[in-house]
Structures are given as C-alpha cells and as structure tokens.
C-alpha cells in the first residue's frame, strides 16, 4: 500500500457542471434522477459501483406498498401501519407514498416486463431486483441523465457563500478524481449495515450521512437501527420468504419454538445466543418448490452449490445485521420535497429517515420500496426546481475538511481492517444491538469514541482506493449516531428494546434528532400533539 499526503492531487479531474447531482444509483437514486430530468433539469448520477447492480434492491425482490384507490382501502392500510408505528409515523406521508407508488409503477411498462397472473391481471406490486434496476438504468439513460459508474462521492462541496454547490469523488476504475458543480444535490446513498453479510449491502456504508452531517445536516430515528435478517449460515442470501415455512432445531435436534410473526427475530436471536440453530423447509409444498427458481432465482444458489436439499436436510442459519437499511434512521427531511436541514441537499430512500411512514418499526420491504420510489421522485423534483433558481455555478468550491480525507499515516495506530472490525464488534452482535441495555450502549459508545478519535487523528488513506478511508469514517460516525440516539431514548419502543427500560414511556413520544460529527448532540422533538387526519 502506498501512502501519500494528498492522494492523486496531480491527476486530472473530470469537472462537470449540472443542475442536479444524484449521489447513488439504487432504487431511490434512479427514481430521483428520472424525476429531476422530467422537470427539464440537467442531471448527473454518480454511483459507487454500477447503477443497475449496486445497492440492496438490485439483489433482492422488492414488493411495494400497493393499495388501490378504492373507498376505505388506503385509510385501512394506513390505520394498520399507524397502529404498529408506536406514535412516530404520519398518516399524510403514508397517503403520499401509497398514491405516488400506485401511479408510478405502471409507467415502467417498456422498462420492466410486468407479468400477468393466471387471470390475466398485470402484476405491478412486486418486482425482481436485478430486472427492476436494469430497467431503471435504461430509463435513467433514456431521460438524458449522465451516469458515472464506479464513481463514489467522497465529500460535498460549498461555494464562497457557504452553500452546498456540488460534490467531489473518485473514479475508481480510471484512477482519477471527479468534481460536479450542481445547483442541488440528492443523497440517495443508501443506509448502513456496517459491511454485514446482508445481500448487496457492501456499497452502503453511510457515506451520505457523513457527507451531509459535515455540512450541518440533522439525522433522525438513528436509534431504530437494530433490524436483522435470517440467512443460511455462511451465506449472504437474506431472502426471508421461504423461512416462514421453516422448522427450527438446536444442535441436539430438539425442536425450537421460533414462531412466525413479529417475535420471530427475537426468538431466533435468543436461540442463536444459546448455540447453533438449524432449519428445515420440509413444509414447503411441492408445487412451490418447483416454482421457486422462477420466483426468486437466487434463493437456491447457496443450497444447490453446497449440495444441500433444504426440504429434507437440516442446515445452520444465522442473522445478518441490517443497521439503518431495513432499520429506520437516516437524514432528517423537513419538507414535502425531502430537503434536509441543509438547503439544497435532499435525501431519499434509506439515506433519509423513514420515521414518517414506519415510525419505530421497520416498514419491511414493501413500505421501504414504496418510500424509495416516492421520496426519490420528490427529492429529484424538488432539487430540479431549486436548481433552476440558482443560475451561477461558477465560483470556486471547497470541501468540509472531513475525517478520512487526508492521510496521516504517521499518526495511524490501527490498520483500516482493524478499525472496521472494532466498529462491527459493537454494532453487529445480537447481544449488543438487538438486545440493548443502557450499560452496554455506554460501553459500545466508549469503544466507538475511541475508534472515532483514531479516525480523526490519523487514518491511512490508500491513494489507489481513497474510498475505503471515507467508508470507515462514515461507518464510525454512523455507529456513534445510532448508539448516541439509543442512549438518549431511555425506554423501549418498536425495534429499540432496552432491558433496563423495558416499557414505552410517553416522555419519549418524540423524534430524536442527532447531528454533529466530532461531538454528536441530540434533541427531542415532541410529536405533533394535533391529531393527524388522513390525506391532509
């Protein structure tokens, strides 16, 4: 590894000027780019990997929250979700995403081959991830958007007025930097699972949270970051549908009581803390077994390649941490266009807090996909309209001097992979993150503060891969925000469960905002005491 003090500073830079810069080319980012282009804006979309395979949608099979505009149907769907949101969700935002999703998906005809069921009815609700994002890439291209693949953003840039006016990053296959001047920026950089084995999550390391927080943005709901998903042990295949048929056993082949429903993860986690857990899928009906490869074509890959017949054999299972991916927290959005507290910076998808629709519980795949599709379009449109009012992109730009950008190898105490392991050691273990306690949160925060001090003081920045140092900084910052918020919420609510405060407490009928990079601070915003009606 070669270390320099200013990586690649002498290399030529790709310098672009645009109206809207979209950072992230997953579900939210592609919808944002399409919506911004629809407004007539010039749009550049940068993706850390490849727009079409990056992110957690491309590898999955998202359903969407799909409720027809029939009398009472949407109100009933919203009431059901409000009942499980523990007071933190908002009926108006739910109504907005249901409607936007309903009207948007059919417009993809021509880009996604929507199948018909046996009755000949076109099926819009659920899409296969790879085909969905392949289609979105084509739609983005047909909309006239410039795509930069393998071009991770490293930091936001500000003009001489202090306003965010673009971003700069790294073209990792070209070995060069890029800079994009933009009237508005949409952060669609995903959530953060801290490089767990969740399928497709390794591009999602919280970079957008860090970039925005450096510019002064607030985050919200970061304490709701303790979601886990089942997979066969040693595999990344977090496709959970089939496990709803599972029978579960301990190492002595004794059946375990791991009931389906809201307590499934807790029951499985408790069993895993006692020893290995095995699953058998013999209750899957024969007809479904035959259809599965055409329903979820990646589901069987780990079994077939290990020579396991999951319908007959018992196989070990595990839980993979999802952090803020199917967790809730993210950048706080303050208006209907998903603008953050930093003017000109918008957030969409998992980069944004989903509290307004999910409250204290994960929205699950369907609500979350609907959120990505909807918030993406609102942010893209909002960014385009704002950028139109900002004619001048010509001033010189500066960054925010964030952590992990400057290499100080002489001060680096730990190797990059050691720092990642120390972050993961606090946020991945079930006994620390799923089953929380005030004491353990305090110990984890201490460990993470130590990591942050090292990140701040001296990090090795690899000139051939400056992204990794920024990812470490982003993960360290995100972990601190998650646990700082968890420490402040001295109660149990939704997925945030603390053994030292096991009840929900009306004192915490509030959103927990958090901001600040070196010294995070929190604020309680009480939920609106006025009753929220439907579709206000």
């Amino acid at each position: 590894m070669t270390i320099t003090s200013a990586h690649a500073a002498s290399q030529p830079t790709l310098d672009l000027v645009t109206d809207v810069l979209v950072i992230g080319g997953g579900l939210a980012g592609t919808w944002a780019a399409v919506a911004a282009a629809r407004e007539g804006a010039r749009v550049v979309l940068v993706d850390k990997g490849y727009c079409g395979t990056s992110g957690v949608t491309a590898t999955a099979g998202p359903g969407h929250w799909w409720v027809p505009p029939q009398p009472g149907a949407r109100e009933a769907a919203i009431d059901k979700r409000l009942a499980s949101a523990h007071g933190l969700a908002n009926a108006r935002w739910m109504a907005r995403i249901i409607d936007t999703t309903w009207t948007s998906l059919p417009t993809l005809a021509g880009y996604y081959d929507f199948p018909k069921n046996e009755q000949g009815v076109t099926q819009y609700r659920g899409l296969r991830g790879p085909e969905y994002l392949r289609g979105m890439r084509r739609l983005v291209q047909d909309s006239g958007v410039t795509i930069l693949d393998h071009s991770p953003a490293l930091e936001l840039l500000r003009n001489d007025q202090g306003e965010v006016a673009g971003a700069r990053g790294w073209r990792r296959q070209a070995g060069r930097t890029w800079q994009v001047r933009a009237g508005a920026v949409v952060l669609a950089s995903g959530g953060c699972a801290f490089l767990s084995r969740l399928l497709g999550c390794h591009t999602n390391t919280g970079d957008g949270y860090l970039m925005a927080a450096e510019a002064g943005a607030e985050l919200s709901g970061m304490e709701f970051s303790s979601y886990y998903c089942i997979a066969a042990a040693d595999s990344s295949m977090t496709r959970s549908m089939i496990y709803s048929f599972g029978e579960y056993f301990d190492a002595a082949e004794k059946p375990l009581n791991i009931p389906q429903g809201p307590d499934f993860t807790d029951a499985l986690a408790k069993a895993l803390l006692n020893g290995p857990v095995y699953c058998r899928l013999n209750r899957v009906p024969a007809q479904i077994r035959a259809q599965l490869p055409s329903i979820q074509p990646n589901l069987m890959l780990p079994f077939d390649r290990r020579g396991i017949d999951p319908y007959r054999d018992r196989f070990a299972v595990t839980l993979h941490a999802e952090g803020t991916i199917r967790g809730v927290g993210g950048l706080r959005v303050i208006d209907d266009t998903c603008q953050t507290t930093v003017p000109g910076v918008f957030a969409a998808g998992d980069a944004a807090s989903r509290e307004s629709i999910a409250g204290a519980t994960s929205g699950g795949g369907a609500q979350n996909s609907a959120w990505a599709l909807s918030s993406g379009q609102w942010a893209g449109r909002g960014a385009a309209r704002l950028a139109r009012q900002k004619p001048d992109h010509s001033t010189s730009l500066d960054g925010f001097s964030g952590a992990g950008l400057q290499s100080r190898p002489a001060l680096a105490k730990s190797r990059p992979d050691e720092l990642i392991q120390r972050i993961q050691a606090e946020v991945h273990p079930l006994e620390k993150n799923l089953f929380r306690s005030g004491n353990q949160i305090g110990r984890s925060l201490q460990a993470l503060d130590n990591v942050w001090d090292e990140v701040r003081e001296g990090l090795q920045v690899d000139e051939h891969n400056p992204l990794r140092a920024r990812e470490i900084a982003a993960m360290a910052a995100t972990a601190r925000w998650c646990y700082s918020a968890a420490q402040q919420r001295k109660e149990s609510r939704g997925m945030h469960q603390r053994s030292d405060a096991p009840e929900q407490n009306p004192l915490f009928d509030a959103h927990l905002r958090i901001a600040g990079v070196d010294q995070p601070w929190t604020r309680h915003d009480p939920i609106n005491p006025l009753p929220q009606g439907h579709a206000q």
């Binding site: 079409g52 790879p130 990344s236 059946p255 780990p302 077939d304």
Partner: protein, 125 residues
C-alpha cells in the same frame, strides 16, 4: 465469494468488470477478467447474472475462500444457473423460466395459513 473465471468460456466482453458493484475484477492486458480483490466480493452473484458466457462461478460462502475444483463445478452443471433461472438472454422465450416473482404474496399467505394450523411444539415464551 467470486472463485472461478473460466478463460476458455470467457468472451472478453468486460461486462463483469463493469457491473461488479464492489470492483472485485479487472481486465488484464489480454482483455480477460482477473480477480484482483477477492475479499471485496459481497457474494451478490450479479457478475454471473450478467455473464452471457456463463464463465464465472461465485461460491456461496461469503466468509472464506473455498477454492472449489473448476472441473467439478463445470461437470455438476452449476455454471449459468442464476442467468437461466432468471430467464435472461437466450432463456427469455422459454416458458419454464418466465418471471413468477409475483407469486410471493400468495406464498407468504400460504405460510401464514400453515403456521396458524400447525400446533407449536412448546408454549410461547
């Protein structure tokens, strides 16, 4: 993790290098892909899906390198499974591989029905 690239099958199109979300592969001077950062592989199988020549093999173990036997994998018919089952490219017209993803809702409902009808082995905790 990505384990095998069958150079005899590879067309040198470079698509795998382009689509890998974690930049695991690189084209060599003969325009053939090489695994340059195996630990960066997130075991997402996207390279296999996009490889029209079925020239890549991703082992499902995301934790450790397995070094599978290339001949055994090829003989077992495991190459190209994901692309075929997805109905991509030459499989698009084959009704056996049509997109049945929409059946997920019905399967979830069926599983719920089974769970409701099956007595649980011990009392709920």
């Amino acid at each position: 993790m990505i384990e095998l690239i069958y150079q005899d099958l590879c067309s040198g199109c470079g698509k795998c290098v382009e689509v890998c979300p974690t930049n695991t592969l690189r084209l060599d001077t003969q325009a053939k892909p090489q695994i340059v950062d195996q630990q960066a592989c997130q075991t997402c199988f996207m390279c296999e899906l996009y490889c029209a020549s079925d020239a890549l093999y991703v082992d499902p173990d995301c934790e450790r390198v397995r070094q599978p036997d290339p001949d055994a994998i090829r003989d077992a018919g495991l190459l190209g499974q994901y692309r075929r089952d997805s109905g991509w490219d030459e499989w698009a017209a084959d009704p056996r591989h049509s997109n049945q993803h929409w059946r997920m809702d019905g399967i979830f409902a069926l599983a719920r029905g089974l769970a409701d009808a099956t007595p649980i082995p011990t009392k709920a905790q």
